[in-house]
């Protein structure tokens, strides 16, 4: 597992070089590692990387001059975060990451077309990954800060539950339930 400072620098490099799909790739790796080690900072960086990936895929964002300015600010905050992570300054690191999230949410409020913020969607998307790695739904939601109801609903529309057969099927459970109910 790479140190967080390395991951932040890598995210910054991919973001600056507009390597959109690689941003998504690093986001997935970060969430996987966060799920393994219960690392909330990695999960947050993974969610940020995913949100940045989404923004960079939207032409109405990237063509807007406002995005250029915000992008510079985000790069600068990623630099600060990397430095803070290297020096093990936890508060500064979290502060820098929070500022990036604020930047993303503000630009999304101005330029986005949906009521639900890109960052909120990123939290749900990446929490669903954590769930797929075997965490419980509330543990996965807590890792990225996603809302549990939204996460549940998101997972419901994936094929995740079709891939892992249950120990007992509906009929078996219904029979057990009726038995203990005396029905």
């Amino acid at each position: 597992m790479k140190p967080l400072s390395f991951d932040i620098e890598e995210t910054l490099r991919l973001f600056d070089q507009k390597k959109i799909m690689d941003l998504r790739g690093i986001s997935n790796r970060l969430v996987r590692e966060a799920a393994l080690s219960n690392d909330y900072s990695k999960a947050e960086l993974g969610t940020i990387a995913y949100a940045l990936h989404k923004i960079e895929t939207k032409s109405h964002f990237v063509r807007n001059p406002q995005w250029g300015k915000v992008k510079q600010e985000i790069s600068s905050h990623l630099n600060q975060a990397a430095l803070a992570a290297k020096e093990d300054k936890r508060e500064e690191l979290m502060e820098a990451l929070k500022t990036i999230i604020k930047n993303i949410m503000e630009i999304d409020n101005e330029l986005g077309n949906y009521a639900q913020n890109i960052y909120e969607k990123a939290k749900v998307k990446q929490a669903s990954q954590a769930y797929s790695y075997g965490l419980s739904i509330s543990q996965a939601a807590s890792l990225t800060g996603a809302d549990q109801k939204e996460l549940q609903s998101y997972i419901g529309f994936t094929t995740m539950h079709d891939e892992e057969p249950e120990a007992k099927n509906i009929k078996q459970r219904v029979n057990e339930l009726k038995q203990i109910l005396g029905a």
Binding site: G134, D147, E176
Partner: protein
């Protein structure tokens, strides 16, 4: 009969608008259905301030005020069991990076309630908590496949955890809905028909209940009524 219900199942039932079926099921079968303070927090008090989720939360709040579910306050005994369950559960599966933290306080509290009140059933829609008690070897396989690395099991912790729940049976919202259907309890919400049953089971799946399409189809196809 005493039973405990987890946040996810409450959310699924309110999200599918099947609260009347749920009420009929609980009242007809005289179930004393307990929820923990964390479940109330996660399914009512937190989402009720969010306009997107407030209606669902209000439905659950109503179920609480109607005594369909009974809110159990946190006690030192529940808290002790909750901590014990958290510590055991989150120190069972290990990768080379250490212990996998697989459950949260809410799920541990639901299990603690089941233990303290001697519940016979736990309604839980998400797969990890259920698999932990019911079928941990399958959970290990899932963890290994998903994490693409070997997972070591602390057998002592696993045995201690499972020994706490020798007779606890686990059910999902789909199992509750199917049982309600078989007991002819869809009244006041839906007609008693295969189409309605199928719609209700799929609504539950799409609200996040861990059930496969194959499982639903199998059940529907073997169901006797029209």
């Amino acid at each position: 009969m005493k039973a405990v219900i987890d946040t996810g199942t409450m959310i699924t039932l309110s999200g599918t608008c099947l609260m009347n079926v749920f009420r009929n099921f609980v009242k007809t079968n005289k179930i004393e259905l307990l929820i923990s303070s964390t479940v109330a927090q996660e399914s009512v008090w937190k989402p009720i301030n969010n306009k997107r989720f407030a209606l669902n939360a209000a439905r659950i709040k109503y179920a609480m005020s109607e005594q369909i579910v009974k809110l159990m306050p946190m006690t030192p005994e529940i808290s002790n069991y909750q901590q014990k369950i958290m510590n055991l559960s989150n120190n069972i599966f290990f990768t080379k990076d250490g212990a996998l933290k697989i459950i949260q306080l809410g799920e541990a509290e639901a299990l603690a309630l089941a233990k303290v009140y001697g519940a016979k059933a736990l309604f839980v829609d998400e797969r990890t908590t259920r698999a932990l008690i019911e079928n941990p070897s399958r959970l290990k396989q899932v963890l290994e496949r998903r994490q693409e690395q070997p997972v070591r099991v602390n057998q002592q912790n696993l045995d201690t955890l499972r020994a706490m729940f020798p007779d606890l049976l686990m059910f999902r919202s789909v199992d509750l809905i199917a049982t309600a259907y078989e007991q002819n309890l869809f009244d006041h919400e839906l007609a008693h028909g295969k189409l309605e049953l199928e719609a209700a089971l799929y609504a539950s799946k799409y609200n996040g209940c861990a059930v496969s399409e194959r499982e639903i189809e199998e059940y529907i196809n073997n169901s006797n009524s029209k």
